[in-house]
């Protein structure tokens, strides 16, 4: 069972971070558990396609992010949208929590709930950059996007979070 030995090691090295990624992407521990299982099963099936162009960790994260995105897209969440414009300025109907205008309070719970409201593309870039600490180059490789797109997505995600956390009147341009 040499494969299982190798996967045991891979699991020990990467499962923690992959679980955290899946948890932050989906917002539930149950979904994260399912996704981590799927990530390692998929990695086992696709190990032949790993070409060593990136680290095995980056490759696993790419599989993981894509599985998380597939999961979110297939999930029948009322807030889930299949695609999101990078220049999305639409208002969201549901804001959690209702905060006094122009004043951003930020607790862990509020931030977590706000992250859960982010569109998928924003959320994946934000989770990978601001929570998991990956660089834009690594994120670009994982999501197969340009590095500049990764920067833009993270910036827009932070802007959206701010708007969710403070209310619509706090949008920078609206204040001018």
């Amino acid at each position: 069972m040499g494969d299982l030995g190798a996967f045991d090691q891979l699991y020990r090295e990467h499962a923690g971070r992959l679980f955290n990624l899946a948890y932050r992407m989906t917002g539930t521990a149950a979904d994260a558990e399912d996704l981590v299982q799927e990530i390692f099963l998929l990695a086992h099936r696709k190990i032949g396609s790993f070409r060593g162009e990136s680290s095995i960790g980056t490759w696993l994260y790419r599989l993981g992010v894509n599985l998380c995105l597939d999961h979110l897209r297939s999930r029948s969440h009322k807030d889930t949208r299949a695609t999101e414009s990078l220049d999305d300025n639409r208002e969201r109907g549901q804001r959690l929590p209702a905060m006094p205008s122009n004043e951003m309070t930020l607790t862990r719970l509020e931030l977590e709930r706000a992250i859960a409201e982010l569109p998928e593309s924003y959320r994946s870039a934000f989770v990978l950059h601001d929570i998991e600490g990956f660089g834009h180059g690594e994120i670009a490789s994982m999501l197969r996007i340009a590095e500049g797109t990764s920067k833009s997505l993270v910036y827009k995600a932070r802007m959206r979070l701010r708007r969710i956390l403070t209310g619509p009147a706090t949008d920078h341009r609206e204040l001018r």
Partner: protein
């Protein structure tokens, strides 16, 4: 001054990647713009709080679940074999550090095919008496083969199966090599590439013809010999192509000329 102009700078400030000139200009703007100061502060807080979110650890029992499902997947045969791995390696973009390795893998594949094929021919040419001494990998297999007619038949079938596996492997390696050629089409002179394709086409036709002949006359030694001769020619052609590409990549004109000569001779 428009605040929109400073969006990128505020983003870069939050990321810690802002340059000195942009930082000076932004600082000047922030002195007089409360909205942008608030924005920069809020984005910084969001970044900091996100980095401080506690890491959620997987439950201890999760590995047991993953392991159980991996075992089931392996038992179901879903694991890619070494042939697929080789094909995947070969199919990768031809970057210089791994190129030699991938070519080595292709060479290994074709050498394996020839070795097995040679053993197979020796066995068949001895009238289906695999107990006779033979060279190559078939020898090892033969040493553990059972005796008697039924056992001999079983052994021949085993060799046939090995040959089929090797052929599959060989074909996948060829497919990978063709992908390398596509990626590196600029490396080979178009006329050389065309000549290579033409020769490969001729050999492939010979392989197809031999297989058709073998289907109608499975015991025909002529058809067998023709098939394996076509295999050997294809192996030689590929080895020459590999040598040519390697010499060209090294910038060795004399070596490339020699390799090209061999290729044309093939």
């Amino acid at each position: 001054m428009s605040c929109d102009k400073f969006s990128d700078s505020i983003g870069a400030l939050t990321d810690g990647t802002i340059g000195p000139d942009a930082k000076r200009a932004l600082d000047e703007h922030l002195k007089t713009c409360a909205a942008c100061r608030a924005l920069a502060a809020d984005l910084g807080r969001i970044r900091d709080e996100a980095a401080r979110l506690p890491r959620v650890e997987p439950p201890d029992a999760l590995w047991a679940k993953v392991r159980g499902r991996l075992e089931a997947q392996i038992a179901a045969g879903a694991r890619p074999g070494w042939r697929e791995k080789l094909a995947a390696w070969v199919a990768g973009p031809a970057t210089r550090p791994v190129f030699g390795f991938r070519l080595a893998a292709v060479s290994t594949a074709v050498i394996l095919v020839v070795a097995i094929a040679t053993g197979y021919v020796l066995i068949r040419q001895r009238g289906g008496q695999p107990g006779a001494p033979a060279a190559g990998p078939a020898t090892e297999a033969k040493m553990t083969a059972p005796s008697g007619n039924a056992a001999d038949q079983e052994f021949v079938q085993s060799v046939e199966m090995e040959l089929k596996l090797a052929e599959d492997h060989y074909e996948k390696a060829i497919a990978g090599l063709e992908q390398i050629a596509k990626v590196d089409e600029g490396t080979l002179d178009p006329q050389v590439a065309a000549a290579l394709q033409k020769n490969l086409g001729i050999i492939d036709q010979a392989i197809r013809d031999s297989r058709v002949a073998l289907q109608s006359q499975p015991t025909s030694q002529v058809a067998q010999a023709t098939l394996f001769e076509a295999f050997r020619r294809k192996v030689a052609l590929l080895q020459d192509t590999i040598a040519l590409v390697n010499e060209m990549r090294k910038g060795d004109q004399a070596g490339a000329a020699r390799a090209l000569q061999n290729l044309n001779r093939g």
